[in-house]
Symmetry: C2
Subunit: 128 residues, 2 copies
């Protein structure tokens, strides 16, 4: 767990191939973004954008991938995945065909520093 408030939480996914992989999980049970009230949609989106900013700052990745599927578990959550051009699936989405065994040359980043970057980015986003 990297960050939380009354509405949602941000966790770091334990994925050896994708060290920056985070998930934003909405607390209340809804299936789709458009099931949320407009103010909650905006809040969810603000947190998503702030985590994107923090991940870019911490990992300086080639690309950020964002996705909300919920096909298996129809509970609103977002995947945020920093990608590198030599990661396991690039340029495919991480759910696509494996491209190479290398897991990519990602920067190292401990949980505490990532959590701090997320907290700062969220404060910035919500004040803007």
């Amino acid at each position: 767990m990297l960050w939380q408030d009354a509405s949602c939480r941000v966790i770091r996914v334990n994925d050896r191939d994708y060290p920056g992989y985070c998930r934003l999980i909405w607390n209340e049970h809804v299936a789709e973004m458009s099931d949320l009230a407009p103010s909650d949609q905006r809040h969810c989106f603000n947190i998503l954008m702030a985590v994107e900013v923090a991940l870019r700052e911490c990992f300086q990745p080639a690309k950020i991938n964002l996705a909300s599927f919920g096909n298996v578990v129809p509970h609103l959550h977002w995947h945020l995945i920093p990608r590198e051009v030599d990661d396991r699936h690039f340029p495919e989405p991480i759910w696509g065909q494996t491209q190479r065994s290398s897991s990519g040359t990602f920067r190292e980043m401990d949980d505490a520093r990532l959590a701090l970057a997320i907290r700062n980015a969220i404060a910035e986003q919500l004040s803007g």
Copy 2:
């Protein structure tokens, strides 16, 4: 092309397996959502939400999938994909392993009706 304004456009993807598949493409060249000014982020997100609403209304799908990758073409765009439990990849993302040959039992929807639903949903979202 289903809808456009000065900032972005919504197109229907010609995919036999996913008749409701749409793409929201930002006109100005940026790679990431967080490269946009805050007001443009909000606009892009409002259009994304409105298209989600229109797709739910038109297709009444089992699930909506949203994704922004841009690994191949690093130009901001969003995939919006109505999913059915018997579609080609369910419950995998459409970039994952094929699950069955059936292309799913999606409702039929012509471009004009879908375009109208999107126009109405966008007007509603932007006024809300």
